[in-house]
């Protein structure tokens, strides 16, 4: 396999996108999972369903919704374009957005189940000992749910790394700009460059397997 610059670029871009999406998932997805697990509010199940939909929808449909929201005329995108004279479409940020939305359900489902599994009595005990909800979440709930939360993070990362359909819709497949590995593999394969494609396929498989292996090993060591 020839590790030419376009392969290196795609690999680096894929990792960069997956990392950025995972950071977003931790920062945004974890608090949402906590809210869904611990709070009752109107529209709770509706929120759960709408954020979980990308798990079952074809990624192209998710991508279509993202265009409706973030396209230049989208209900969010139009303001970004008006105020910042900038559109997220066809940038690597769009790839991050697509990966984030598609991988988020894995964090929410796994995280919510892990947080709901924490013994209610332990949380109540922390409250009766004078600890605020915030402190209790940090010192009791999250540490006790960490195994499930870590699983959610790893699954999300793996899903983000392999994201294709929604990314294609919102970020395009621009060589040297937004062609993550799955997109590059598609292009190479479609244009008959089977050998190059095969190399990338092996590389992506190895990278994904390596991350899963590290996550397994790490989770065994700390628990």
């Amino acid at each position: 396999m020839i590790m030419d610059s376009s392969v290196v670029f795609s690999l680096r871009l894929s990792l960069q996108v997956a990392f950025a999406a995972t950071v977003l998932i931790i920062v945004i997805g974890l608090p949402i999972a906590y809210l869904l697990a611990r709070k009752n509010f109107p529209g709770k199940e509706l929120l759960d369903i709408s954020l979980t939909l990308p798990l079952v929808l074809p990624p192209t449909v998710t991508g279509y919704y993202l265009i409706l929201a973030f396209g230049r005329n989208g209900f969010i995108g139009r303001y970004l374009y008006k105020w910042l004279d900038w559109s997220i479409m066809f940038t690597w940020y769009a790839a991050v957005l697509a990966s984030f939305v598609v991988a988020l359900p894995l964090m929410i489902k796994t995280g919510r189940a892990a947080l709901e599994g924490v013994d209610r009595n332990l949380i109540n005990a922390a409250y009766t000992l004078g600890h605020s909800e915030w402190e209790t979440a940090l010192k009791v709930t999250l540490p006790l749910a960490k195994r499930g939360l870590l699983a959610g993070i790893v699954l999300s990362f793996a899903r983000a790394l392999g994201e294709f359909g929604a990314t294609l819709m919102v970020a395009g497949n621009i060589p040297g700009k937004t062609d993550t590995m799955p997109l590059a593999i598609y292009s190479l394969s479609a244009s008959g460059e089977r050998e190059q494609a095969a190399g990338m396929v092996v590389l992506l498989t190895l990278v994904a397997a390596l991350f899963l292996y590290l996550a397994n090993r790490y989770s065994r060591r700390i628990f």
């Binding site: 013994d119 332990l122 109540n124 922390a126 409250y127 009766t128 004078g130 006790l144």
Partner: protein, 247 residues
Amino acid sequence: MGLSVCVNKKLTGFSLDVSWAIGDELAVLFGFSGSGKSLTLQLIAGLMKPDGGVITANGKTYFDAARHVNAAPQQRSLGYVFQDLALFPHMTVRQNILFGAKGVPEDERNERYRELTETFYVAALENKRPSEISGGQKQRVAFARALMRRPDVLLLDEPFSALDTPLRIEMRAFLKDLRKTFQVPVVLVTHDAGEAASLADSIIVYSEGSVIQSGSTADVFSNPADERVKRLLLGQEDALRTFDKRR
């Protein structure tokens, strides 16, 4: 010092409506399982909200439906020992007990910790996890943790129910000593007449969400108010003997 509880709460298929008050004593909430004893403790601790009524402890109002007062559990000075003890499995004994030191000034913290762990014979266990110590030791850790903040009232939800008989008797003696050392009003929930007889200064008898009799232990044991109370004490001759011995 004391605790006054007058609350009602409706749940699906169950309704609680009770009123009682205790002073600086060990009061036992006594009754069959499902009569609302544990629910009452949760209402006192603020873990659930009553539909109506008033709860005051040591002169402080924790809940008053009419005046829209409902203090958060964190603001109520209560030590709560749960039925399953609720020790944090991911913390050591030391961390568990010090987790109860919220709001205790830094310089007093170590002194109190030392005092409690010595009194409760758990000092040697401080680096162990709850999964590594015995049932009786777990009990003592849970008590030490509940007392770190020097609560106004101690609430005990059948804390000895999971123990075998010899250990249970040992823990009863321990609880009596604790009352002498810490002089804190205690509300103990139990459905064990023997436990009530050997520990209680006063007994509040629950049945189906209401108080059917309350009074000194002597009163309740010698003059059961009605058939239901008699039925609760029925077959509990041992308990009566224990109580006679105390007298």
